[in-house]
Subunit: 340 residues, 2 copies
Amino acid sequence: MPAKALPSALEAAASILRGDERALARLITGLEDGDPAAAGTLRALRGGSAAVGQLTAQVVGVTGPPGSGKSTLVDKLISAYRAKGLRVGVLAVDPSSPFSGGAILGDRIRMQRAEAGPGGGLDPGVFIRSLASRGRLGGLSRATAQSARALEAAGYGVVIVETVGIGQSEIDIARLADTVVLVSMPGSGDDIQVIKAGVMEIGDVFVVNKADREGSDRVVREIRAMLETGATLRQDLALRQGGAAELQPVLKTVAETGEGLPELVLALDARWAKLNASGELASRRARGAAAEARSLLAERALAELALLEPGLEEGLAMEIVRGEREVAEAAEILFSAIRK
Amino acid sequence: MPAKALPSALEAAASILRGDERALARLITGLEDGDPAAAGTLRALRGGSAAVGQLTAQVVGVTGPPGSGKSTLVDKLISAYRAKGLRVGVLAVDPSSPFSGGAILGDRIRMQRAEAGPGGGLDPGVFIRSLASRGRLGGLSRATAQSARALEAAGYGVVIVETVGIGQSEIDIARLADTVVLVSMPGSGDDIQVIKAGVMEIGDVFVVNKADREGSDRVVREIRAMLETGATLRQDLALRQGGAAELQPVLKTVAETGEGLPELVLALDARWAKLNASGELASRRARGAAAEARSLLAERALAELALLEPGLEEGLAMEIVRGEREVAEAAEILFSAIRK
């Protein structure tokens, strides 16, 4: 007599927990599409997973300008973590911008194939998925954070989120990742533009890749100097509350040859150990989740508004343009409409 | 017998309309501080100004990496517009990041003094103000858009908003400006990083500054190629709906010597004429105002939430981290709390 069929969300969650990568891929597709069934599967998966609540997966954001060699670096990180026996999930955020082309996934799969064992099959301990970015300025899609949580629940010990640092994605990656790796490279001339001032602050580990090129030491020095200035200013602001702050590591790598990779993995391990020991991991994730819930709330409110009072927002916007109303007043009217 | 005193908002608005720059500076400070009196003055100023509703000021956003010579370019633009008899307002957004230093305003005032007439006084047709940026990833403060509207009402014909392109500021400037000038410069090696892919899309006019340096033609070619690729892809997506789209101008300048500045001013004039003739100006501003009202609405909702149910958001965030709740559910609970 056949066992009674499980509800489909439980069935899918069970498949994923048994290591079925196709079921995992289907879940992520569903999350991208906003499919309610996928939301159910994610709930079941996280509810049924021993990994969840234990915060077992380090979520590493890798970001930097095009041409800095991020993808090669990520490929070497995959190999390094596989050698340590960890399963690795990679979410490559592929800006949907028409300017970016973006055959990330295809390239990556070819690379995986090339590196796979004698049989030429894909390594079952590695899950790679490309995700569309949201909107014109490169925000990560909502599915990115959900997919990272799904990968943790599915037992991946490291989740790498690779993005090109653009507008909103710089903000989103700082929210989503436990550790942000900012990748730059030696330029020549004006190296200061390699990492833009404000973006320094999201970096937990700095990597100067292509360090066999001329000028890499100078870039390292400049990044260190910027970090020191920032730390000093912050300390002054905080009225020197106790000892010198530890600066973020700045490492040189040549991803093509693997040079500097062991040091990078050590730095990531040290960061992970510290996040766990200090309790900062849970509070950092909670801050990210709160921000995520907040932007979903804002979307929800706007959707409701469009239903309740269609055209209200557009009308108010034109009144602002014509000088008949100020923006604070418009926001107040929108808020009242929601609460009505 | 002395005339009866006007209410203070009307008094301040009248002073600004008579050309009192100190009153204008006070208004902007008040807007930055969220002072309700400043909101009243802005309302009175816009209500009383003939310029408002006529959309008389071109708001030009100038953005680009540090070291690209933005400030010098802006200074030359000021001179060019002054020579045409227009009053020019400049809002320099000074990231509050500890990494950025940011003595923009001090430097600028010195420069203005140096360039001013024989008496050494400041040019009364130029109003320069530095504004703090909001948050760690460089968003423009709410006061930026309000200040731009105040400058238009006060009769400035050009409002230049100068920012370093970082995270949120790239999104904000695209919302706020009628025309975005993206400044880059010749690098060497990997020029593709000079302008990041996704950011191309916010540019209405592209400037390769420091064009006396080697490699400027190559940067121009690369930007044009990226613009063409983008246009082609968009056209394919839109199933070739009518003739070839006009590409954004890509201009070379040497701001230090003023080379290329007349061409830049021509390009800005052409853009401004087109925005006016097509009616795109009002609809673009309305989209920006709607986005502004929306983010204010979101803030308002969150503030209300913190009052209604203190701790609710933090509690839900921890439940997400522990795997006891998904983010969509949390957003729904927050939304119900607001509507209650």
